[in-house]
Subunit: 468 residues, 2 copies
């Protein structure tokens, strides 16, 4: 087991700052480990050796009997040199420091304090994560930094300089059925560097996609080469913070990192083969596309809608997004005209199913015709929640039957596909529909723009790999 | 009362195609009027004179005793010439034709049929809405085309060539607390033209903003001049369908309208003073901005967030959207540093409140300082749902208390403001938070990009008016 493997697989944990007061951050960390089902030994450390959530309390970690692998520190910055000395003394493998007030504060005192920690650590085998970070989330071994993160493990990893971005990404990914192998909120990089973690995740068998939020780096050259190496093995999706002057100003007060110019960053990310995204939505969308949409051959889109106006608008938006919508091949159009011949239906590309939508038998036939059209690379269906709810009012379970028929039809396709289920109605029902579809491996996006943006990233990533 | 006034204020209605079978479209129209609380007389018309939902049934409208103002026709196209003759004979004021299979079908038969209807109508006072349309929604007089549209009336009107777009727009606007004075799904324009309706809405006292979805027009010159006249009176927000070749193809099979080139349309819309949007989300966002965000002086943005990473990303996105984020004025920064001095907080623009967010007294002071900064035109606050839910878990009602404090603080501002409440967690709680905020006239958007795009439209609209 490597040093880094050990960080994700500790047998014993202590939280410094966990006490009987459950409002304290330390106690909340301890609660998170308990809720995640951590199987090893757990200890609370506080000045009065108070126990916390049934975990024995100690005044200091050196009082804890037996070995101690990982420590989380939730007390103010000034105590840290003492704590780190104790960690070394106790033979601890790794420590995550929650406290801020180090180099990111921009004060010479903070900077000096951080250097002091690194110096102590380098003389030993101790690895420091942070400071100014949340540390590790690893559902398979019961590590977490919040008690509301999923216990279920997946194959996506997130590496984040910001703890808040890590939390928001995990929670919003969970809503899309995306689960994590590991998350590391790495903060100030006093000792353990983002590049080391990235290299580790690149070779980690439990990780198939890496999300990466960073604000800056001390070693751009090394970062570039690690990114290149990692991207050759699996997709790395980067949200770079501080690509504007105002964003950069915020970076300085947040992590104190050097941010560089946006153009330099974009060029470097692009050359490394990583994928650059610009918002959290795009980060999660792109992950979903890479996980569930087969890599398309190109940008020729076949579109199916159930309403004329929305078919028109979806076509306009797709072209705006840089996709093509070629007319269907003549023999396909001829067959479609046999299936969809009521007034109101449209059998151009886009298809407007209109009232034919109501007869669930139609889906398989229509979808399979589009699947046979050699001019198309990808098929997208758009279903509005208000239509589905409407059908349910008229015939019980009709909503479920329609979604079932659409799912069954989509799953027979050889071409890549996606389904758009808009946020128009934020009805509770939408969330249920989305979950049902995602459980069947149907990629669901809330708008066609977001779907196509994510698919564009996937297309580019796979094309670059083929060239190599 | 003008002809058009009468259309929105009928004393008696008949639905042709309403019968004992409640699944039929005609019966569903009748049900919609009943649910909307229509106060006048309602009749069902079908071949066996069957009554429907307690409304007396007649074989034909000429059998109905007393006057008849408005008729909705839900039977196939081929019967329409006969029906229109009967409407003229009965002295009906207006008729809305749901059936499709007219000019939009692209067949000479359909085209001829539509001409025939117009010819009959022109010889009388009868006005025809459609065919291929849903007709009128007017909550103040109890008219509707679906039973799930709100009974509550508002000040927005929608004019839509597509029925589906009208429904989706109304339902998604409702989720944002936007209600309607009138909606007209006008379809094929056999008799009543979109330009007449637009001119009517422009002078309608109950309407302050006009949403307009159109796919094409027979008279571009007249449309341009009506748009110009209407935009001089109130904002007209246009979603033009068919601005791409593929969208245009869909337009032809949907409404058969002539769509023109995208560039021509954009130039004409821009010159008329109307606002062009490209998606339904943008249509509703822009309406919300015009209704609830004071017109800002310019694009200098002050941003407040509660998490460092999100502050960085929000700043980057704002700059990408074409806004500026000047550093705060020195005396403002000095005062801010007294309020926010914990490690982790940021007092640049953007402000990162970090843990100070937890102390609700801070909001008013921080917001008022930004309000005094002469360099700022608009103030935006970003609150994530996962933070609010989190606080609630720790202290009961803390989520509500925080939102209350933010609302109170925002409402004291002299500058325009908006609040971002992301869709990251589509928790039921988000919908409740949004409703609470909108009820207090706090403009809420799901992403900063969507907020700024909408505010950009408002800014341009108001600047154009000032110049004139």
């Amino acid at each position: 087991m490597s040093d880094l493997d050990k960080i994700f697989n500790p047998c014993s944990l202590a939280v410094i700052g966990a006490s009987g007061n459950r409002m304290k951050f330390g106690s909340r960390f301890l609660n998170a480990f308990l809720k995640m089902g951590f199987k090893g030994k757990l200890y609370a450390v506080n000045p009065v050796a108070e126990s916390c959530l049934n975990c024995s309390g100690y005044r200091k970690i050196t009082d804890i009997p037996g070995p101690l692998d990982h420590v989380i520190v939730c007390i103010p910055a000034k105590y840290l040199p003492m704590i780190i000395e104790q960690c070394v003394q106790k033979g601890v493998n790794s420590v995550a420091i929650y406290a801020s007030g180090f180099s990111e504060s921009g004060t010479s005192k903070g900077l000096q304090l951080e250097k002091q920690l690194a110096t102590i650590a380098r003389k030993s085998h101790l690895r420091i994560i942070g400071p100014n970070c949340l540390g590790i989330y690893c559902p398979s071994t019961g590590l977490s930094f919040r008690d509301d993160l999923p216990q279920k493990a997946g194959t996506v990893a997130i590496l984040s300089q910001s703890g808040g971005i890590a939390i928001t990404s995990i929670l919003s990914a969970t809503e899309r059925n995306i689960y994590f192998s590991k998350a590391i909120s790495y903060g100030n990089e006093s000792d353990l560097q983002a590049t080391e973690l990235l290299a580790y995740l690149a070779q980690d068998n439990q990780t198939s996609i890496i999300m990466f939020y960073l604000e800056g780096t001390k070693n751009g050259h090394k970062l570039f080469h690690t990114l290149k190496m990692a991207s050759a093995k699996k997709p790395v999706i980067i949200l770079k913070g501080g690509i504007s002057e105002a964003g950069n100003r915020a970076v300085i007060s947040h992590t104190g990192a050097l941010a560089g110019t946006p153009a330099t960053w974009s060029a470097a990310i692009d050359q490394s083969g990583a994928i650059q995204v610009f918002s959290l939505e795009e980060l999660v969308d792109t992950t979903l596309a890479l996980m569930t949409v087969k890599p398309p051959r190109g940008r020729n889109l076949g579109l199916i809608s159930i309403s004329g106006g929305s078919a028109v608008n979806l076509a306009d938006l797709s072209i705006r997004m840089g996709f093509s919508m070629p007319p269907f091949q003549e023999h396909i159009k001829k067959e479609l005209s046999k299936l969809l011949n009521d007034p109101g239906t449209g059998i151009q590309n886009p298809v407007d199913m209109a009232a034919a939508f109501f007869y669930t038998d139609n889906f398989k036939n229509v979808f399979q015709l589009l699947d046979q059209d050699d001019g198309l690379d990808i098929i997208i269906m758009h279903v509005s929640v208000e239509h589905l709810i409407r059908f349910k009012e008229i015939i019980p379970n009709k909503d479920t039957l329609i979604l079932q028929a659409i799912s069954d039809a989509l799953l027979t396709l050889h071409k890549p596909f996606a389904l758009i289920l808009p946020y128009t109605l934020l009805d509770d029902q939408r969330k249920i529909f989305q979950k049902q579809l995602l459980d069947k491996q149907i990629p669901v996006f809330p708008t066609i723009e977001r779907a196509l943006q994510a698919i564009k990233h996937s297309l580019k990533y796979h094309k670059t790999r083929i060239k190599k």
